[in-house]
């Protein structure tokens, strides 16, 4: 393994405020903002590392974005890092959401509010798909090879987006196929 040196979080408060910042921007889901911050801005991990950590975070129980913050925190500062990263994700946004709830109770029946929310939902959907497409580029280094990766990814997209199969079923079946194939291709 060739380890490329890359920047690391300076302190627990750096970790906390970095996650606070990205969480407060993350309307309609924070993952796109996590990728932008961790991979492109702070460069705490490469895109390839991000994909591999995401694979674990998405497979374990719990919100994948929270799981990812726990992994990143633990990597640099042990359990304290996990606590500060997770707290950063939750503290400010949870206060924000309660305030927005009170505002929404006042103005939620205005048509402009719902129009704005729909439009922001459409923007957020674009963010999520764009992030996924960017992550696809990291599969070039995958030992499965580009054709197997493309097959698995296409099957995953079609079964969930178009056939509406249950995501845990898709994760289990395609994940098992992918992991078995990867196991046979990786040399120890």
């Amino acid at each position: 393994m060739n380890q490329v040196p890359h920047p690391v979080p300076e302190s627990l408060s750096d970790l906390f405020f970095s996650f606070t910042r990205l969480a407060l921007q993350g309307f309609g889901g924070v993952l796109a903002f996590m990728e932008r911050m961790l991979v492109e801005k702070k460069q705490w991990m490469t895109r390839d590392e991000f994909v591999q950590e995401w694979a674990v975070a998405r497979t374990m129980p719990g919100p994948p974005a929270m799981n990812l913050s726990i992994m990143v925190g633990a990597k640099y500062f042990g359990w304290r890092g996990s606590v500060f990263a997770a707290a950063g994700m939750l503290a400010a946004p949870s206060i924000t959401i309660v305030v927005l709830g009170l505002v929404y109770a006042q103005f939620g029946d205005q048509p402009q509010v719902n129009q704005a929310l729909r439009a922001m939902g459409a923007v957020a959907a674009g963010f999520i798909m764009a992030t996924g497409i960017k992550l696809l580029t990291a599969l070039q280094k995958n030992p499965l090879g580009i054709r197997v990766c493309a097959g698995l990814a296409l099957a995953g997209f079609i079964t969930i987006a178009w056939l509406h199969l249950h995501s845990i079923l898709v994760l289990a079946v395609l994940g098992l196929v992918g992991t078995s194939l990867a196991y046979s291709k990786i040399k120890t």
Partner: protein
């Protein structure tokens, strides 16, 4: 609500947490069955508003559970109860899964050179990326299901291209999208 009720709420949330692969949005129908249909701690409209709001608000989607807790607290005892129940609910839905994730992380970093660990990370990657793109697709189609909503589709497409390009600040894209939406130009 009495002490037995609060205990029952916490026990349910802890159990849901362990089962919440992919995050608690997958548990929405189960939470609705328990909190609204079975226990009547929330009204149907409170429940739905919490889910919609949490997806529109900044922060991880799991915060809708805090909002559910806030409303349960409001119904049970007003502003005195609401913050505590919101915190209790959030901790309940997160503590088990976050703890499991932490110990899994420790185990994986100790065993990162194991063939099985490498195979798992690499083998799962194509599927989890596809699921991410699919969730974006589902989010886009949930809002815009007919051809009459073509402006929303264009918005999604433009946002995606600009994010891949990477030069524009994503927060401003959201703000501009929201502004155009409020003016009735997009939706």
């Amino acid at each position: 609500m009495n002490w037995a009720d609060w205990l029952d709420l916490v026990k349910h949330l802890l159990a849901y947490s362990v089962a919440s692969i992919g995050g608690p949005l997958g548990l929405v129908s189960e939470l609705h069955r328990y909190l609204v249909t079975q226990e009547h701690w929330l009204t149907d409209s409170q429940f739905n508003a919490s889910v919609v709001l949490a997806q529109a608000a900044p922060g991880p989607n799991v915060l809708f559970v805090a909002l559910l807790g806030w409303n349960i607290g409001m119904n049970a005892g007003g502003y005195l109860y609401a913050p505590g129940v919101a915190l209790l609910s959030l901790v309940g839905i997160l503590l088990p899964s976050c703890s499991m994730m932490f110990f899994a992380t420790k185990w994986i970093s100790r065993n990162q050179d194991l063939r099985a660990v490498k195979a798992f990370k690499q083998g799962m990657s194509p599927t989890v990326i596809a699921m991410l793109i699919a969730s974006g697709w589902l989010l886009a189609t949930a809002n815009a299901s007919t051809l009459g909503d073509w402006r929303l589709w264009v918005t999604t497409g433009v946002a995606a291209v600009l994010v891949i390009d990477g030069r524009v600040n994503m927060f401003w894209l959201l703000a501009i999208g929201g502004g155009l939406g409020a003016l009735g130009i997009i939706s």
